[in-house]
Symmetry: C2
Subunit: 494 residues, 2 copies
């Protein structure tokens, strides 16, 4: 793909995003409406992210398990808010056989009416109901608590308007599900896992996040309350990067998840669920990339270093490629993910563009003059700066450079968010702010559902998060003038 | 679960199997017909197996990717044999919304007729069709070949008679899919991946396998030919542990997967697919376990060593538990997967049984007398032998023991298979052999489809594999007396 194929962000952020994703070969459109194909480069990125999350999920005492893809439709209906939240966007299996039928000269297939299921099955839009029907069987006594499970799985929500990674009919995620003896333990769990997500977002993805609570209107269908992480995209919208729900005893009641406490009394458990998905790949793209393509934080880059040898003629080629492969081996032995691009028919400039499109953090150029000087020239993806590294210090030099890029991406994203976050008290300023290009507005809010809807209608902005660390600051709601306990963060959202 | 809960294998192999799987907490039945829940111990086992496979699949040049769960029904129908093979066992999505309807005093939900899909979607029973529709887009030139992809995914086949791990409506697997410029390259690929599976089966799972070709009747729907691995279960049946298909150009033709060769000519690609699934967990259980529960080869045991401290009274407890945890730490540092079972309310004997049920290869007992003697007592799961290990040599001693168990399990399984494999030429002996308890019969076979069916009807045995290394041995078919080129392996199969 040529560099010219990427639409500048300033011109059209939506097309820019799609161009970056397709150009980096992270994903492609599939013949199934709303479903995407995750290509090897994108899947490798997801695997690295998954491993970072998985390690932390295990370290906090959770164990992985796997529950069925299908949920009897009656299960979804047992928790009233829950079914309300998911009924309008699910894939429903009704038949189990295809039959051939004549169609003009040919033959086509259709569902065999005789294979109709007695009870239709819903493809999981989330797994609370199917999991907790099992929890009810496994949990007897307080000795079985806490039960701390996690699942890596595919999920289906029938979305009308889809976008690669950000909103797709099928996506991949992890969903943690736990049961506890007390509400307080459940609350600690919900906050602990939000902390894990925050650590991964900030330290691994280099994306600063705001953390806090959702309003009633935005919380998970069936939860007591929902905590979330919100990051700012480069087009100044909010992107929800993860949620953690205190489910209270709502599902425990619906599915009879009970335990005998130490005193011999039967009680309902307290539950939590929390998840992040392939949406995070979209957040990464939206948080760091530029008009040359993808920009990846080194800790998640499937290829951290691309070595590009530069030669003229066959004799030079052999010598330079050998040196390039030796450098590649040395970096690999130092634990880095490296590609040596010795493809024959392509010019160095073409290769540079390709590695830029793919977001490789460091490119190493190695030509005859570098060989003579005993150096390699490193080029940073984030700011295009060039830096010669003496050959004997190669591994250390590249490592330091990668660390520096990781930090620089975070600081750049943080500065960007700060530049586009404003405290706004008056309605006119608020409405104007959310007109293009917008950002995060910290504004006093009365907390009313109707008021939130009115704000959304007028500005397309919603309450993204009620920050944990907001100061108490009595004021007047930016919209209705009613009493506000403090500010909340408003933004347009993905 | 008490030891008594396991039905002896000699009494009822089917109940024995289920008791072992449930007793080890590998899996549980779910409320969805034919679908199981993979519990943490079973999922950890699958993850270890997955990692062993994944490493080898990458090392042979393949990259992981992810394709949609849903396949338009018309795609399945494009390859005639393929749809024939899968039409009768698939889950079909026809609607995308639930609606609430009054039902007496309550409310129930049903698929909203207005949300009916124009084209129903099949939940993937395998991914050839959806993947190759993308291959057609990505492959242009011989430079794009070979294309070597692999996918880890869930699969749905609507099975009538299901058994935990061995045959479930939903299962987890990997499916490799490749495209090549020539038939010979595809053939090499098919054999290479069969070799990878064989290595994992024999070296990691400690299961000896027969490898070779399937008959026409047993090959994959849409393939030119199918290669397979077959292992023998402890009830002397055959269990197919993996398949590798040469797809020829059948799917390439159906989906238009073409490339321009070096001479500028347009050609169809040659394709392969190959897969193994969570069925392998069933093969493991069926291949090594006993009447005390699961027996796991050390290389796949989620817990390789269980340390059980034995104490009386509080003072002893502190001292012994400290020593047990110190031993556990040392073994973990040596790279082993270890649990220290210091649970308070339970007797050592109860703990022994539990770790036996779970298939832990080595149990370490540590009591006051052992502490005095400066030793730990190791107990092997495979043969119950006890062996004191001097404390200073603990890590080395346990490691050697684990290696020894790994080898012993393989040799035991191989001897078992050899004991129950017979060369049989005459029909009466053949028919009697396949009556309980049976085994593998190497018998001359004419290769006829009708003859294979007649044999199955009479004995319930089918041709499991035409071994690669069978000697040429002209003879008379065990059933019809027609000309046979050599022997094939007949058995009843899971």
């Amino acid at each position: 793909m040529a560099k010219e194929a990427i639409t500048p962000r300033a011109e059209d952020p939506a097309r820019w995003y799609t161009d970056v994703v397709l150009g980096a070969e992270l994903a492609d459109y599939s013949p199934v409406k709303g479903c995407m194909v995750i290509r090897p480069h994108g899947y490798a990125l997801w695997e690295l992210l998954r491993d970072e999350l998985d390690r932390r999920i295990r370290a906090t005492g959770h164990r992985n398990a796997y529950f069925p893809l299908f949920i009897p439709q009656s299960f979804l209906a047992r928790e009233a808010e829950h079914v309300e939240g998911f009924a309008k966007e699910c894939a429903i299996v009704t038949h189990t056989r295809l039959r051939a039928v004549k169609d003009g000269d040919g033959v086509r297939v259709e569902p065999d009416p005789e294979s109709r299921l007695e009870e239709p099955l819903v493809v999981r839009p989330t797994s609370e109901t199917i999991m907790y029907s099992m929890f009810a069987k496994w949990i007897q006594s307080y000795r079985d608590l806490p039960l701390l499970l996690n699942q890596w799985a595919n999920i289906v929500r029938w979305e009308m308007r889809t976008r690669l990674f950000l909103r797709t009919t099928e996506f991949l995620w992890q969903e943690g599900h736990t049961a506890h003896a007390t509400s307080q333990e459940a609350e600690e769990e919900v906050r602990r896992m939000l902390g894990v997500y925050r650590e991964v977002a900030e330290e691994v993805m280099a994306l600063p996040v705001l953390v806090g609570r959702k309003t009633e209107a935005q919380k998970f269908a069936g939860a007591l309350h929902t905590y979330c992480l919100e990051t700012m995209t480069l087009d100044r919208k909010a992107l929800q990067a993860g949620t953690s729900h205190h489910l209270g005893q709502n599902f425990a009641r619906a599915f009879g998840v009970k335990f005998q406490d130490a005193a011999g009394q039967e009680q309902l458990v307290w539950q939590t669920s929390w998840g992040v998905s392939t949406r995070l790949v979209g957040a990464l793209v939206m948080g760091h990339s530029d008009d040359d393509g993808l920009v990846l934080p080194p800790r998640l880059a499937p290829v951290q270093v691309a070595v590009v040898p530069i030669w003229k003629g066959d004799a030079e080629r052999t010598r330079i490629c050998e040196a390039a492969h030796a450098a590649g081996r040395e970096l690999r032995e130092a634990g880095l993910r490296v590609e040596v691009d010795d493809r024959d028919a392509l010019r160095p400039g073409f290769k540079y563009h390709e590695w830029e499109l793919k977001g490789v953090p460091v490119r190493l150029e190695l030509g005859p003059r570098d060989l003579e000087k005993g150096q390699v020239v490193a080029v940073r993806r984030d700011d295009a700066r060039k830096l010669p590294i003496p050959r004997p210090a190669l591994a250390r030099g590249v490592r330091e450079l990668l660390d520096d890029i990781q930090g620089a991406l975070y600081r750049r994203a943080l500065a960007f968010r700060q530049d586009h976050t404003r405290s706004i008290d008056g309605w006119d300023e608020f409405a104007a702010f959310h007109d293009d290009p917008g950002g995060f507005a910290r504004s006093p809010f009365c907390g009313g559902r109707a008021c939130e809807e009115a704000i959304q209608e007028a500005t397309r902005a919603t309450v993204r998060v009620i920050e944990f660390d907001r100061p108490e600051e009595p004021g007047r709601c930016v919209r209705c003038g009613g009493a506000a306990e403090g500010r909340v963060v408003f933004a347009r959202a993905y």
